[in-house]
């Protein structure tokens, strides 16, 4: 399967390269993969500087999203009042077009880190919160009764049963959030920034440095894949009971 994918993608790259050369496509329209790779290698320092800015926006954004989503999800599951008053707002927050909001954030918070982190949070907290709510709700009720019959308080029920039971759902949400978090950071940067991969793409596109645009796109795609993979790895570490092979004694 992987072999097949690898063969396919390398043959596609080859076709791309060949087409660019055969039809003499100018580099500023569509650079061949070799030119993109060359740009990547030539300007890796520049890319690294901007990557580090984008990564810190994503990192901060994800941390804030996780905390916010968990708190919201627990509140929504614990209280009908919070569910009725907050859950609609959580859903409504996804209807706001980020592109419309971003200039406002720029006006309110300036060119710094804050508006980008806010965009990342707006995009990322939702999948985590929704999955977490479902996870907390979907707990086997008899497991809760078992712990309740031991005299567990509401808080202990949360700690011993609901939270651990909701962890797989939490990680599903986090995987989605990690994959889309890059988009959030790039949108935030493209509206107004002085650094970051999104800023780099805009700045390189204006003078038709298309190879740089593609190099930045490539790097952000790799970031997305890497984040997704790290969440999967973290999930395996955190939930050994789900992955450990069943051994019949």
């Amino acid at each position: 399967m992987t072999e097949c994918c690898r063969a396919l993608s390398s043959s596609q790259l080859f076709a791309w390269e060949l087409a660019c050369r055969a039809f003499a496509v100018p580099d500023w329209v569509l650079p061949p993969p070799s030119a993109i790779l060359a740009a990547l290698l030539r300007d890796y320092r520049l890319l690294l500087v901007h990557l580090s800015v984008t990564m810190s926006e994503i990192g901060l954004g994800l941390i804030v999203s996780i905390v916010l989503a968990i708190v919201l999800a627990i509140g929504i599951v614990a209280s009908r009042l919070i569910e009725r008053s907050v859950y609609p707002l959580v859903v409504a927050s996804q209807a706001i077009p980020i592109v419309a909001l971003a200039p406002l954030l720029l006006i309110w918070f300036g060119y710094g880190l804050t508006p980008k982190v806010i965009v990342v949070v707006l995009i990322c907290f939702f999948p985590i919160a929704v999955n977490m709510v479902d996870g907390l709700r979907g707990v086997d009720h008899e497991l809760i009764d078992t712990v309740r019959s031991l005299g567990a308080s509401k808080w202990q029920t949360l700690r011993f049963v609901r939270l651990p039971a909701a962890l797989p759902a939490f990680f599903s949400g986090l995987r989605v959030a990690a994959a889309v978090s890059v988009i959030g950071a790039l949108i935030g940067e493209s509206i107004g920034a002085s650094a970051g991969l999104g800023y780099l793409m805009i700045r390189a596109a204006a003078p038709f440095h298309t190879d740089h645009v593609f190099a930045a796109v490539l790097v952000s795609a790799l970031v997305s894949i890497a984040l997704f993979a790290s969440v999967t790895w973290l999930e395996r570490q955190t939930l050994p009971w789900r992955t450990r092979p069943r051994t019949e004694p």
Partner: protein, 251 residues
């Protein structure tokens, strides 16, 4: 029997349960009067749907009776959660906790520090033949072992009253009979009062001092038979069998 009231471990006084389902009132249980002495092993049998599990849920404190009172140790006990050990037909082990971690849940709920809880639980694990599986997850165990681990969970808290809701109902016949023998031997050594709900008459007769038969909805007591002497004779006969006492695993 002429005991004073305070000697009863559990007393049900005119207990009924009525469920409200939409506009419909379902009279599920009662009125029931039942007294269980300290150290007794009582089986409750009856057809399915006679409210056996509801009865145990009420004794455990997960549900409250619609009318009547439940007494524990000679006093009314309106709040019973944490005072009665309860084991289900499903093992209901927490899948994200190892066998040992599951065994200490009741102690952790009672806010006993983890290290101390482990010290208290380990002898039980050894006694149940589960010590070498202490760090396994429930999904890695066989059905019989999971059931044993679930039963183990009812013991370290020292709850004197243990409720068993068809504990062996989900096991295959062979595992089931070895688990019954095992429970019988164990109970001989433990100073616990047990209420076992089952629909299996043989199991009830084999395990208990007394069998209570419930009728179909609403569940009321049809007959209440004690046969301690018969059981002693049966046990003596069983003991003469060479296989008994060896807990065979169901691998």
């Amino acid at each position: 029997m002429s005991r004073v009231d305070t000697d009863w471990r559990l007393e049900l006084r005119g207990v009924t349960k009525v469920f409200q389902r939409d506009q419909l009132q379902v009279h599920a249980l009662g009125p029931l009067d039942l007294r269980v002495a300290d150290g007794e092993f009582v089986s409750i049998i009856g057809p399915s749907g006679c409210g056996k599990s509801t009865l145990l849920d009420m004794i455990a404190g997960l549900e409250q009776p619609t009318s009547g009172e439940i007494w524990l140790d000679g006093a009314p006990a309106p709040y019973r959660l944490g005072k009665v050990a309860y084991m289900h037909q499903r093992d209901l082990l927490l899948p994200w906790r190892t066998v040992l971690e599951n065994a200490i849940v009741p102690l952790e709920v009672k806010r006993i520090p983890r290290r101390q809880a482990i010290e208290r639980a380990m002898p039980w694990l050894r006694r149940f033949g589960l010590a070498e599986f202490a760090s396994r997850y429930p999904a890695q165990l066989s059905g019989g072992m999971r059931q044993r681990a679930a039963f183990l969970r009812t013991l370290p808290t020292q709850c004197p009253l243990v409720l068993l809701d068809e504990p062996f109902g989900a096991l295959d016949a062979l595992t089931r009979s070895s688990m019954q023998e095992w429970l019988l031997m164990l109970w001989e050594d433990l100073d616990r009062t047990v209420i076992l709900v089952t629909h299996d008459v043989e199991e009830a007769v084999l395990l208990s001092d007394r069998v209570v038969v419930l009728s179909q909805c609403p569940g009321t007591i049809v007959t209440d038979q004690a046969f301690v002497s018969l059981k002693a004779r049966l046990l003596a006969a069983l003991r003469r069998q060479p296989t008994l006492g060896v807990v065979t695993d169901d691998a």
